[in-house]
Structures are given as C-alpha cells and as structure tokens.
C-alpha cells in the first residue's frame, strides 16, 4: 500500500468469529470549494457503491458517509483534515475511491 494508514483492530465478537479490521485514513480535503460543491453528492454516491460501512470523522463528529442528511451537517473546507473509516469486504477499494475524490 502506498498511502499511510492506521489499522484499528476491533475486539473479537461474541460468536468468536475473530477480530474484525476497520481501516482508517486521515486525509486533507483538497479542492477550492469544499464540501458544498460537486464532491458532496459524489461522496454519498461513491460511498453507497460499496458494501462496506463508510464513516467520515471531522472535528470530533462521526457521520455515515452513505447518508445525504449526515453529509449535509458536515463543516468541511479545503484544508480540513478528515478521517475516513471503512469496514467491510471491499474496504480497500472504498478507501481508494473516496480518498481520490476528497483529495483532489
């Protein structure tokens, strides 16, 4: 993997199926217009294209990236640092797609 990321390992669940892995990546939002421009709907669209759970953490607040309403509450401007958290079968692809969208 080419980008730096933190791997957070969740504890074993009760059925003992083993540890789950959530991947996180901190990115700095690029662009000149922030989240009110094209990326807002694109973000929701791309997040929904993946099976994985996708969360965005900004300024102490965590939202579901698949939800239009949640994304509307975010305060993101170019240069804002956000954490993408993805968990699921296609988490790597989801992370790559969303990083690409936000970092541009």
């Amino acid at each position: 993997m080419r980008w730096p990321h933190v791997i957070c390992v969740k504890p074993h669940d009760r059925e003992g199926r083993g540890a789950d892995i959530v991947i996180q990546k901190t990115i700095v939002v690029g662009g000149s217009e922030g989240i009110h421009a094209r990326p807002a709907t694109e973000l929701v669209r791309i997040a929904n294209a993946f099976q994985s759970i996708v969360r965005l953490k900004v300024d102490g607040r965590t939202v579901d990236a698949k939800s239009v309403l949640s994304i509307m509450t975010l305060a993101i401007r170019p240069g804002t640092e956000v954490q993408l958290e993805v968990d699921g079968a296609d988490e790597e692809q989801a992370l790559a797609a969303l990083s690409k969208l936000l970092e541009v």
Binding site: T41, E42, V44, N48, L69, I71, M72, T73
Partner: protein
C-alpha cells in the same frame, strides 16, 4: 421546484442545488412576483408545465402564504401533471438540498420526500 417570496432567494437556491447535483436533475424556481417580493400562481403553473414529462416533481415553499399560490396553481394544471407533483412540507433550503441530492442519486420519490422531511431535524451546529 422552489417557490419563494424572493426571486433572489429562489434563484440562489437553484444555483446551489445545481452545483450539488452536477446538473443531473431538473430544478426550477417560481419565486417573486412581478419584480417584487411575493408569489405568483401563474409563474408556478408555467414552471410546473415546463418540467420534464413523466417525471415526478417535488415542490418546496418558504412560507405558508406561498402555499396559497401553489394550491391555486395546482388547480390550473392538467390532471396528468397534478398527479406528478408533491408539495413537501419541509424547510425550504435544507429540505430542497436533501431532496435534490437524493434525486440526483437516483432515489425514488418516496426516498426524496423522506429525506426532505427528515431535514426538519437537521442539526448543523451540534458538536458530539
């Protein structure tokens, strides 16, 4: 469709909605009345008739009095058009934004309306 007493507000909101949805959906404003603040049923009729055929329309109003114009306009529409329009009782800006985003993502009318209504409870300033 946006119905506001202010033409500037209506146009500004349409501009914002277009940017959020990358021009994927039809959005129109029927706001202001003869260059002044107010609403005009005939402008609403025109706006609704100009919407793409066979597509559903979500309408948003700013104040209760805009609803009077909307109701009058609705009665002047052909029945086929009437059945395609739904007035959404949500806050104008946040409701329209939620609706437009859902619509551009291919959401059904139910989903569009549901999101717009949920926008009533949207909290932007709360910190977790």
């Amino acid at each position: 469709m946006i119905v506001s007493h202010s033409a500037k507000l209506g146009e500004g909101l349409v501009e914002l909605l277009h940017q959020l949805t990358a021009g994927k959906i039809h959005i129109v404003s029927a706001s202001g009345a003869g260059g002044q603040l107010g609403t005009n049923p005939l402008a609403i009729v025109e706006a609704l008739n100009a919407c793409p055929e066979n597509q559903e329309i979500a309408a948003f109003c700013d104040l209760g009095s805009a609803l009077l114009s909307y109701d009058m306009a609705r009665e002047l529409l052909p029945e086929a058009t009437q059945s395609r329009v739904t007035l959404v009782d949500a806050p104008l800006v946040e409701g329209a934004i939620a609706a437009a985003m859902e619509a551009s993502l291919g959401g059904s009318m139910d989903k569009v309306v549901h999101s717009a209504l949920a926008a009533r409870d949207l909290r932007k300033a709360a910190r977790s």
